[in-house]
């Protein structure tokens, strides 16, 4: 079975980049541009992991994480944060929201996205 990943990223071209990288690695990848749309996509797709930007249009990733935790059937989906704010967020502070990995957009490589998703799904 092909594993599914939802990418929540409001920079469309960066999102397209993630989708290409994940699809090349064999994942089914879906995109939501903002938190409100992400809930619907996640509900439809039931992904094995979510790749999530922190500073989103309209609301923050934290609101989305709260929302996901409030639904028992979505609460256990592992989250990978990919953010420009990686130096300001500790994994300990966000682990309770299901965040398993934090990627620093400024230093990560495309293969790091695949590696992080693979790790959190295992």
């Amino acid at each position: 079975m092909t594993e599914r990943v939802v990418v929540v990223e409001d920079d469309v071209w960066l999102a397209e980049h993630y989708l290409r990288v994940l699809r090349r690695a064999g994942y089914e990848a879906y995109h939501a541009a903002h938190a409100l749309g992400a809930i619907d996509v996640i509900d439809d797709v039931r992904p094995h992991a979510v790749l999530l930007d922190v500073l989103l249009t309209g609301t923050t990733a934290l609101a989305l994480l709260h929302e996901l935790r409030s639904h028992p059937d979505l609460a256990d989906i592992p989250i990978v944060l990919a953010t420009n704010l990686a130096d300001q967020i500790s994994l300990e502070d966000v682990e309770s929201y299901g965040v398993k990995r934090i990627l620093d957009k400024a230093t990560m490589h495309p293969e790091d996205v695949v590696a992080a998703v693979r790790t959190v799904i295992q």
Partner: protein, 240 residues
């Protein structure tokens, strides 16, 4: 800045904030450029994907250059801006032409609303153009992916002022976010108004509008937002 280019809001706090916002906003395009260049280097792309990525990299670099150019100009306190009667619709059309390729690359459309009998305004053509470029660039990243962005104009204040707006259609902005944005606009501070790009753009736009004796503002709609600049009407023609 005042109309003659002298600073009116030059506190150390604002300057530090401007630098912080500038650093943050320039980081985003650089991060994207780096990711795309790493992807290109990996050589896993088809020819059409490669062409698309190269085009995106060009647009991202151009945006970063625009931002740094505007920031340099906004911070240049000794510059005197020449003001003259300017046709605001001509400037709006220039902006539409200038951003046409960028909007098409995003699969979006920027259009100028049909308006008749709009008088010239007292402005510096280049500064007005840069304000509208900032607003339109912001709207591109904020509005619905398939949505249209519209450049609008109207006469207000008993026909003494022209309001030029960039109207986007997107998610409803939370009121808490909106209050922060509007209060910061009033204080002429840079702001992380929206995640993509607008904080520094608004700060710069505010500097430019003030330099022309105008002001900027924003209106929250149920389905998006309008960011506008107001400029005084030129009465030169009525004196002839």
């Amino acid at each position: 800045m005042s109309r003659n280019g002298s600073p009116t809001n030059d506190s150390g706090v604002n300057r530090v904030s401007a630098v912080a916002v500038a650093a943050h906003e320039l980081k985003s395009p650089l991060v994207l450029l780096r990711q795309l260049s790493l992807e290109l280097a990996a050589n896993d792309l088809s020819e059409s994907e490669r062409q698309q990525v190269v085009e995106q990299m060009t647009h991202v670099a151009e945006k970063a250059i625009r931002l740094t150019s505007d920031l340099t100009r906004a911070e240049s306190q000794s510059t005197l801006f020449e003001l003259a009667p300017v046709n605001p619709l001509d400037v709006a059309r220039d902006v539409r032409s200038e951003l046409d390729r960028l909007y098409k690359a995003h699969g979006r459309k920027l259009k100028v609303a049909r308006i008749r009998h709009l008088p010239p305004v007292i402005a510096n053509r280049d500064l007005l153009r840069r304000i509208l470029l900032n607003f339109a660039d912001n709207a591109l990243h904020y509005g619905d992916i398939d949505g249209v962005v519209e450049l609008q104009a109207q006469l207000i204040g008993e026909r003494s002022t022209v309001r030029l707006s960039v109207r986007d259609f997107g998610p409803h902005m939370p009121i808490k976010h909106w209050r922060k944005l509007t209060s910061t606009l009033e204080q002429s501070q840079p702001v992380h108004a929206r995640p993509q790009s607008s904080g520094l753009g608004l700060y710069i736009s505010n500097q430019f509008a003030t330099a022309m004796g105008g002001r900027i503002g924003a209106i929250r709609h149920q389905d998006g937002a309008s960011f506008y600049v107001e400029l005084p009407v030129s009465h030169q023609l009525s004196l002839l």
